[in-house]
């Protein structure tokens, strides 16, 4: 644990870059071949602005802010998010950035805490109700 554990403790800000190539790789490895993650034609046909990142990839980025902070990833007992806004990934070499901030929101029984995460892309919050329950002892 990199910081003393108390309500209000801040997790280090994390920034991740995601490109179309990352989406292709994640699609192949995860088995989520939904074309909205690789075809602009399919993405726009259902009203999206273009190809979007897999929500589960964004969720993995956000989760890493927690697992890096607690050291043992298995200390995460519960982890949930709402995919409130799409992470649009342009068809270029630089892609887009996802930024993750976290704060210890409250203490629970048995040495567990609730960590709330704020996840943004292009300055817009892309996840809602992103929180993890973490065992700290």
């Amino acid at each position: 644990m990199s910081q003393p554990l108390r309500v209000g403790a801040i997790l280090p800000t994390r920034t991740y870059r995601v490109t179309r190539a990352d989406l292709v790789r994640y699609a192949g490895v995860s088995g989520d071949l939904n074309p909205i993650h690789w075809s602009d034609r399919m993405a726009t046909s259902i009203g999206l602005p273009g190809v979007i990142a897999h929500g589960m990839l964004t969720m993995a980025f956000a989760g890493r802010a927690v697992t890096d902070w607690v050291a043992d990833p298995a200390a995460v007992e519960e982890y949930g998010v709402r995919f409130s806004k799409p992470v649009v990934v342009p068809d270029d070499d630089t892609g887009t950035e996802v930024t993750v901030d976290g704060v210890v929101k409250r203490e629970l029984e048995d040495g567990r805490v609730q960590v709330d995460l704020t996840v943004r892309s292009g300055g817009v919050k892309v996840l809602g109700q992103a929180r993890a329950i973490v065992r700290t002892s």
Partner: protein
Amino acid sequence: MPLDSSFAGRTLSSETPYEVGREKIREFADAIGDPNPAYRDPEAAKAFGHRDVIAPPTFPVVFTFAAGRPLLAEMGIELSRIVHGDQCFRYARPIHPGDVLGCGVSIESVRSLAGNDIVVMRTDVTAEDGEHVLTTWSTLVIR
């Protein structure tokens, strides 16, 4: 056309269990860009008291997604119309290489909201000996 709400309560057990591979865990960790040694190096994982490397928290999507597919197909839901709404994992124990995992999938609810269908799918993941490993809930928005 809205989905028939009578799909709620429908269940499915995965026919083929999923065997977790060491290289699959590594590959997944690479795909999410996470260099954590607990996903790759048994000694690093043992330092945390685990018997072997562990899988990242979102790894279960690799097999729970596939387990739920037949149920969604049965409901007439096309992959390209699905937008992931919510996702929650509740873990009972970490996943290790060699785990042989089965999925019990159930449709918890089907409702309509602002012209979209909202489907909540629950997946209970168990080991070969029946030990509960984790439960996931996915809310899917059908556009």
